[in-house]
Subunit: 558 residues, 2 copies
Amino acid sequence: MRLLASLLDGAARPSFSKLVLVFSASGGGLVAYADARSDPAPDELSQVPPKKKVLVLGTGWAGTTFLRNVDSSMYDVQVISPRNYFAFTPLLPSVTCGTVEPRSIVEPIRRIIKNKGGEIKFWEAECLKIDPEKKQVLCQTDIGTNFEGNGEFVVNYDYLVIAVGAKEVEDAQKIRRSVINCFEKATLPYLDEEERARILHFVVIGGGPSGVEFAAELHDFVTEDLAKLYPTVQNLVNITVLETAEHILTMFDKRITEFAEKKFQRDGIDLKTGFKVVKVSDKAITTENVSRGETSIPYGMAVWSAGIGPRPVILDFMRKIGQGNRRAVATDEWLRVRGCDGVYAVGDCATMSQRKVMEDILEIFRLADKDNSGTLTVKEIKDALEDIYIRYPQVELYLKTKQMKDILDLIKASKGDVKKEDVEITIEEFKNALADVDSQVKNLPATAQVAAQQGNYLARCFNKMNDSEEKPEGPRRIREPGRHRFRPFRYRHLGQFAPLGGEQAAAQLPGDWISIGRSTQWLWYSVYATKQVSWRTRALVVSDWTRRFIFGRDSSGI
Amino acid sequence: MRLLASLLDGAARPSFSKLVLVFSASGGGLVAYADARSDPAPDELSQVPPKKKVLVLGTGWAGTTFLRNVDSSMYDVQVISPRNYFAFTPLLPSVTCGTVEPRSIVEPIRRIIKNKGGEIKFWEAECLKIDPEKKQVLCQTDIGTNFEGNGEFVVNYDYLVIAVGAKEVEDAQKIRRSVINCFEKATLPYLDEEERARILHFVVIGGGPSGVEFAAELHDFVTEDLAKLYPTVQNLVNITVLETAEHILTMFDKRITEFAEKKFQRDGIDLKTGFKVVKVSDKAITTENVSRGETSIPYGMAVWSAGIGPRPVILDFMRKIGQGNRRAVATDEWLRVRGCDGVYAVGDCATMSQRKVMEDILEIFRLADKDNSGTLTVKEIKDALEDIYIRYPQVELYLKTKQMKDILDLIKASKGDVKKEDVEITIEEFKNALADVDSQVKNLPATAQVAAQQGNYLARCFNKMNDSEEKPEGPRRIREPGRHRFRPFRYRHLGQFAPLGGEQAAAQLPGDWISIGRSTQWLWYSVYATKQVSWRTRALVVSDWTRRFIFGRDSSGI
């Protein structure tokens, strides 16, 4: 009841412009509530009209990149996250085996805020519920045991940026401890060989970049460090990668997949491709395979690396806005949550749905056909091109895969033997020419790169929010008059690494440049060192790598 | 039931010379049992007569020093500990504030074993019960969730070394996280100033070296690092040290105590000496003070640094051997547990009771009085001196405090104005002269230094066990004929540090040399770097210090 008292006290102060006490719908506990203009710190009050309140949920790649780039003098920015730090997640597989210390890849969010000028408020709490109608969010702090009441409080927003990620540093630490625990367990007395072998069977579910990297790291950890310390059981260790598809690393070039599969075979890592996991029980994983049917695989430790579903708070939110049957929050190309005013979703918790050309084909034609002649001339097509390219990036991607220079080549190809300049096409011919471009529409992967670019893009939009009203910089609207305020978000793929262990890595770089081998591992080291958010973490990560080169990885169960 | 099957399988193999299944008295679960000669790894079998089995419980200072020094070719050495690493505990206060990483001060016990030659077996398990009658120990592994049965197993011993410590690295990590949680909590919205101040009130209970060091580290952490990141609450932080005695650091020279108290006052650390803690509840600590009576102190986080009781397994063991009313296992001066054949106790879980001179005074006199004249001549006293000094170190200590050269000075002082060489004394005069020497008998402190010296001493005894049978190296027995096999354990105090924060430290070195100030902090750095158990941890600790100098301490809640 002291919170109640303190709130009532607070109500008499100027900083609490409006305060009511409500009971949360969920648990009936005491909930503190303040309206959009209330500010809990009296000394921060000012006489200028209140800024719009931007509430950011999450301090992962998307949330942090947004924070670093948003102009915090324009908005009252608040961040809520259960973690008070940003983690450089691409190095998490290294943390699972102790190659890099967890502390080295995290940067306190308050330090990031401070470096910006410190006008952003951070609160360490978990978001329990999003109410898009009332534009408010219910939070709960789980810090300590003796927070007053049940620790719930409500925060209002004008704009909400949902950037609730997925991967956690704690998970990586747990994996590391589990690996060592398996070795300690396997060396206990009173176990037969079969049991020891089962305990030392490590199964990685999912043959994507993270799963492959973890399997590779684990193999190195076992052969380079643990084998010496657990000599009696080293021969019993087994690493298996289970993948539903016919190959691992399917998002990479075939040459990389082939190289990785051969390297794993040489290393003795058991690749079971075409195996779908149907059940994971205490001691065995049940898999389904076309030729072999159901098989039960006994294991000591399993790591799930095949994607995860959304968090409960996001599921609940999706149900509220009629997206209950989806796996992630759907946004438009401006990262706005569909049917939800002022709410944006970025990073792993969101999928951007790209509008299809064929949905808009009539409107596109009408827009381009300035003289309403019912046909498009070369000039008319050329005039509309830029807007089409911007609004529907799949067109450009499609041309690239067909090795064509521009849309006119496409039209020419579909119309047959006509000189490019003389083309004049009907709506049907236009439809035919563009019939396949939408095949290039793909969901963006749930990677750090996508999240960071989205966070950056969104911050830029927020910074230009006022200017863009007068000077819209987006493409022409297809179904309505005028222009979009901003260009839609467009992902630029900067390449992807697949570390394969034993100082070998593969990389697929822009322009389909493939790089494989030891030099790629060094490229990996330098890229990841460069990408660190601060000089501090950069120095820590590099010194961790140096430590590992000199002393190996630690096997203490801590 | 697979364990049952595997045990029955095992019974058919030569390695399991005798196997029975018993039910544990405690839980009724399945317990695996093997006799002293069974060996779970068949490939380790040999035809030579079995070595005596030495079982070490614990991998702290005492246990690890024993392991590093014991001749593992003479014994079948087995180690059981819930931690598979040794931790350099004197740096734990630094871990509580992130000055040093926990990983940097731990060394895997298997690496220590491997560097010795690898003949020692290590099992990661908790010891649940010690049965000195049957010479066996009941253990339980808590690794993972799917160990067969309840994970209990029994291990037999010929010699048992109890070296169950107290401090844990995990505790230090928890403290670090709690400190940061308090700051995150205090910056949450909807709290009044009073509540924020309560949350940021850190109370250290106990003004010994650890408590003082933690308070100093915390002060530095707050002022040097956290204040910048939590500017709105930095003025609310309060650190209090509660000490029952009238001063802190009572085991140190008065000059050190005075310096520390003055420095803490300057730093704004609230020293409450003469305050006894009587109750710790969720939000307040109740203290008792002679002049002020009972006071209730609200707090956000409290750290207990005033000594801890023995673990349940040790309590249970003490009850079994009739030491139920003690705070630690009592041993004689050879570190043997009283009334318990083949059991030794070292480190924090044990107290060595020094035999009093006055208990043995008649026997000492009789032993020295070779001609049975009823008086002791100077020559007789001189002949007995060495044995007395070895057997009763308090005599030497007492002479030192009185600034006397030898026992004859003492006798002369008590007898009055006689020439030293002419002394001839009766039993009564002998008694009078030595009446006060036992005042020097003190319990050894529960420090790393004592534990390490005990572990080392015990290993040396074990290594000489056979030789000493023929050539005893100890003093003459007082009550029985012959000589003791070994000299009794004697603690050599190598000095003690008290880091006081702000790059200031105090040290009390042998010969009562006092050193205070910045140079002492550098002495502290160099001594603690030198004392590391491996080059690896040495490099890590030094690089952690360097990191801290350059980048400060991390405030991520991880």
